[in-house]
């Protein structure tokens, strides 16, 4: 039985039982008597507040949901949650619209139009769960028999299906390695840069003690992970006296609250940071003790760029004995200089760095970045002086290093072809002043958790995974390579993949919408049988074969992911408030069903038990309610407590923040050292070259490996491919997030579309002068064109952007057939972004493209 689109969209509005059928017709006289203020007493049958966790974005704020007569009436912040302390953004507040969205998927759907492309009507047919499961299981059984790797699982920020552990366990039980998260369309380069430098990722600036805070392109006042902590900490500490500088091409809201907005040319931040390093060294504002004691800046490097070693241990130049020795025992490493060890000419890593940046003067940097030379000199000097190198403070009776300066970033340094190197430059500047894990500096999370990240890559070939993670293509792509899946699907042989994936299952992700160079993504996804579990028919679902409805975060049980901060960490749950469309299953239940039908249930349960340290019995399925209760128990807390409070918090102490990181892992002789100099990248480059030559790989450039895998960031990293090649395109294009939408998934929430005067439709933000020169007026429709394509969009003139740069927000321009017109306004810039992924981490390049803008 087929249904037409109108019928489908209206749907069977089987809403929760207790919801009243109020007035549908707007007849005023009908309504007047019935809606009297005074005559009818206020007496709801139910009025409760239920604590839970929000997932409208990945801050995972604590919420309290008000339910009246079985209906979600409002969503409030939870003041007990130590991360957001009751604060919420408009997305979290609007979550009830997301749950009651009449355009949600309410029944399993099957595609009957085999053509898959934007604009095609999938001609959905409602099917039963049985039919959906039968179809899926039939195909998966065949694949499991032939080669389980042909099954690819993808998920997004999604609702973190209980911490990613469930899809991982399912895929392991099935036998596929192809579990792909979305981090390379988020901030993977930042993570990989951290990992290469200190063996794990994530950091937070110690803002309560910081006096000079440089934010390079992060935007916690419009989006970003940790926004609900960073935003108030920035505001409060600014009032305390912290100097707050924002370096980014656009006057973001984060920049609007800064003392100083430093407009910079997109992708050139690395040179700004190298110039800072140069100035710090020139003015002798460097923490020599930190560099020598905690980092490998004093390690000796030969003319091949590799460490000079003895018995496998890298050597320093000991000033006491005037000889090359490992950094052990009673030695005094020389930080700078050229030496000779056993006839081998070598220099310290710091010496190499100094020499490599000696021409990165403020004047040179002004030419590359557009930032005035005087500004660079001043900020570098201020940063170095505010760092108070050598000083200490006492906290809880302990002497701690005090360096109240921090350089923070998120997308700004990361979403580039040289994203890892840009981030490495930031880390090096921080190391130069010794601000890591110092009071007022940058706290590093779980330092040295995975030492192998600081080692060279295995450069796998042929790749085992469809996303080419940690293969010769993305040797340090340790966070999956989300955008690569589609490219590999389009031509597996081009990447040496020894099999052809046949089935893709996606959960809460919208790859074709969220990735650069969309048409290439679509090409790939046209070729595979695709099942999507989601609450709405996204652009990915629009191209899929079966769509299975999922429950929203207000309808299901989850052990929630949470965000920590420098005062506390917490565990939290999400619990069901309503079941708006009477869904039988959520994604978790569906996985259980499939596992049972595929005969892998016991293996799946085994995997879950291992991941969560719980003891579920074999031989039966579990509901998410049961599993969450078990996880709570395993974490030493009672599910009833969590149902009543939503979370359980633990205070952190100064010891946790300042003494468990670099102090414990890297300090002093005989201990491993932070990678100031990433020698592992030099060895990776060698392996890449060797692997390419040995296998005759045609699609990897080996002429620039010394630049791509440079052990130190260098000027070349400020010139991504489009900057070098796109002649005739005069403007730089950057994309950005807005407060009102999270990625692609809240477009249908009507409240968010009217919450601000310009939330409903996006525009290309263009400098007023630049627009005038092009004859473009505010509100004109223009083309924005790159080498990858062109889009039509409205222009908005502003003084708050660099004249050579334009910016477009990417939450807009939906094209899914099943998304109503009101939610499809605007244009998606991802169509025209050139894709040149970071060859270290696989990070999708979003902010490197060059364009021209002209009136229609």
């Amino acid at each position: 039985m087929s249904i037409n689109r109108r019928e489908f969209l209206r749907g069977s509005a089987s809403v929760a039982a207790l919801a009243a059928m109020g007035d549908i017709f707007f007849n005023i006289s009908n309504v007047v008597a019935k809606e009297s203020m005074s005559e009818i007493p206020y007496a709801p049958k139910e009025d409760v507040l239920i604590p839970s966790t929000d997932t409208m974005c990945v801050n995972f704020c604590g919420i309290r949901v008000k339910r009246v007569n079985g209906v979600i009436r409002a969503i409030y912040g939870n003041p007990e949650n130590p991360q957001n302390i009751g604060h919420l953004c408009p997305k979290g507040i609007s979550g009830l619209f997301d749950t009651y969205n009449p355009y949600r998927v309410k029944k399993p759907l099957k595609r009957t139009n085999p053509k898959k492309s934007p604009g095609e009507d999938p001609k959905w047919v409602e099917i039963s769960y049985e039919e959906a499961f039968d179809e899926i299981v039939k195909r998966l059984k065949k694949i499991k028999f032939e080669n389980p790797n042909k099954f690819v699982w993808q998920h997004g920020h999604g609702k973190y299906l209980i911490g990613d552990q469930f899809p991982k366990a399912f895929c392991k039980a099935f036998g596929t390695t192809n579990v792909v998260h979305r981090t390379t369309i988020c901030e993977a380069a930042r993570h990989v840069s951290d990992e290469i430098t200190w063996g794990n990722h994530a950091f937070l600036p110690d803002l309560d003690n910081c006096n000079y805070f440089i934010n390079m392109g992060a935007n916690p006042m419009e989006a970003e992970q940790w926004a609900r902590w960073l935003d108030r900490k920035i505001i409060e500490n600014k009032e305390r006296g912290m100097r707050y500088i924002v370096v980014e091409p656009r006057l973001s809201n984060a920049a609007a609250k800064a003392h100083e907005w430093v407009p910079i040319r997109p992708a050139t931040d690395v040179v700004f940071l190298l110039a800072m390093g140069n100035e710090l060294i020139k003015n002798n504002l460097i923490d020599e003790k930190f560099l020598a004691t905690y980092t490998n800046a004093s390690m000796l490097v030969d003319n091949d760029g590799k460490f000079v070693k003895k018995d496998g241990r890298p050597l320093i130049w000991d000033k006491k004995t005037n000889s090359g020795k490992p950094y052990e025992g009673d030695v005094e490493p020389a930080l700078s200089g050229s030496y000779n060890v056993d006839g081998k000419a070598c220099r310290t890593a710091l010496e190499i760095f100094k020499e490599s940046i000696k021409d990165v003067t403020p004047e040179y940097t002004e030419g590359v970045t557009g930032v005035p030379a005087d500004t660079i000199k001043r900020i570098s000097k201020e940063f170095g002086e505010y760092a108070k190198i050598g000083s200490t403070v006492i906290r809880d009776g302990k002497f701690l290093r005090y360096r109240p300066v921090a350089i923070h970033t998120f997308r700004g340094l990361s979403t580039h072809e040289y994203g890892v190197q840009n981030n490495r430059a930031r880390q090096i500047v921080m190391m130069l002043v010794g601000a890591f894990d110092a009071v007022g500096g940058m706290h590093l999370h779980d330092v040295y958790k995975t030492p192998k990240y600081m080692e060279p890559s295995k450069c796998e070939f042929p790749p085992k995974r469809v996303d080419l993670q940690e293969s010769v293509y993305f040797p340090h792509g340790t966070h999956n390579v989300a955008q690569q899946v589609a490219l590999t699907l389009a031509d597996p042989k081009a990447y040496g993949l020894q099999y052809e994936p046949e089935f893709m299952m996606s959960y809460a992700t919208n790859r074709p919408f969220s990735t650069s160079d969309i048409k290439k993504q679509i090409e790939g996804y046209q070729k595979i049988y695709s099942v999507v579990m989601d609450t709405i028919i996204t652009e990915l679902a629009d191209m899929s074969d079966i769509v299975l409805p999922d429950k929203t975060y207000l309808e299901s049980w989850h052990w929630s992911d949470t965000r920590w901060n420098l005062e506390s960490k917490h565990m939290a749950i999400r619990q069901p408030i309503v079941n708006a469309y009477n869904l039988k299953y959520d994604a978790f239940d569906i996985l259980m069903e499939l596992a049972e039908r595929l005969g892998i249930l016991d293996k799946y349960i085994e995997g879950i038990n291992g991941a969560w340290k719980i003891k579920l019995a074999q031989g039966r399925k579990y509901t998410s309610n049961e599993v969450v209760a078990e996880i709570a128990k395993a974490n030493g807390t009672d599910i009833e407590y969590l149902k009543n409070h939503g979370l359980k918090a633990k205070k952190l102490h100064s010891e946790d923040i300042y003494l468990k990181g670099v102090e414990a892992k890297f300090k002093g002789p005989g201990k491993p050292k932070m990678n100031f100099y990433a020698e592992n990248l030099v060895l990776t480059a060698e392996k890449v070259k060797e692997t390419v030559q040995k296998n005759g790989i045609k699609n990897i450039n080996t002429s620039d490996l010394d630049i791509v895998y440079s052990p130190l960031p260098r000027r070349e990293h400020a010139f991504p491919t489009p900057h070098k090649e796109a002649k005739g395109y005069d403007l730089y294009l950057i994309t950005y997030k807005r407060m009102y939408f999270n990625q692609s998934n809240n477009a249908m929430v009507p409240l968010l579309r009217e919450v601000a005067h310009d939330a409903d439709e996006n525009f290309v933000a263009i400098n007023t002068e630049t627009a005038k020169k092009k004859g473009i007026k505010d509100g004109d429709h223009v083309y924005v064109e790159s080498r990858a394509g062109k889009i039509k969009i409205k222009a908005k003139l502003t003084e708050g952007i660099k004249p050579d740069t334009v910016a477009i927000s990417y939450h807009y321009g939906h094209w899914s057939h099943s998304i109503p017109a009101y939610a499809k306004k605007g244009a998606n810039p991802n169509w025209i972004l050139e894709l040149h992924p970071d060859r270290i981490s696989g990070m999708n390049s979003f902010n490197d493209t060059k364009v021209k803008v002209y009136k229609i």
Binding site: Y42, I75, Y76, N84, L88, Y100, N253, V755
Partner: protein, 218 residues
Amino acid sequence: MKFGMVIDTKRCFGCRACVAACKTENIVQPGNHWNFVLEYEQGKYPNVSRIFTPMNCMHCENPPCMKACPEKAISKNEHGVVMIDYDKCKGRKYCIAACPYGVIHFIDRGKAFYPDGQKIPYETLPIEAKHPLHRKKPGITEKCTLCWHRIEKAIKEGKKPGSDYDTSPACIKVCPANARYFGDLDDPDNEVSRLIAKKRAIQLNKEYGTRPQVFYIV
């Protein structure tokens, strides 16, 4: 107790949480805003600033809307809160014309949140499950009530209005910038009184003589 607010525009970064919180708390239909944020840029590149000014009803001491209403549908209660009586209001719109802050809206017809008209359960709660201040109907005007339904409940329960999330208007404690304050202007020790004094908070459009109870740190 005379209730008022302080809004710190130096802290506000324009997230619109207050706008969304007010809308959902007070079931304000699409197109109407009891609470909105004005946003504008000043200066020339690169010396540019962006200013955010959240605005809601000022609960004036001398409310022009109250004076203008021919039906006497607007009153100011003992705690200084200015409210529209939806039963008395006949939609004459004199209040909208009189208000210099543009914070009163007319409900011309009932509008569903979702554009195709389908109302969701949140919009179709039975009348007894809606507080009288949320029993709005087409043909009348509406505006911020300082969440009197929450304040009144606090007073009834013996709690101090403004002391926590639930005893304050919905827009106050939700603000991620901690830019909104609510309290008793008659009490010099209250946070709002102290902020007005210490940060020299001002009233908007003072020249109209409305004497707002909402103050701004600029």
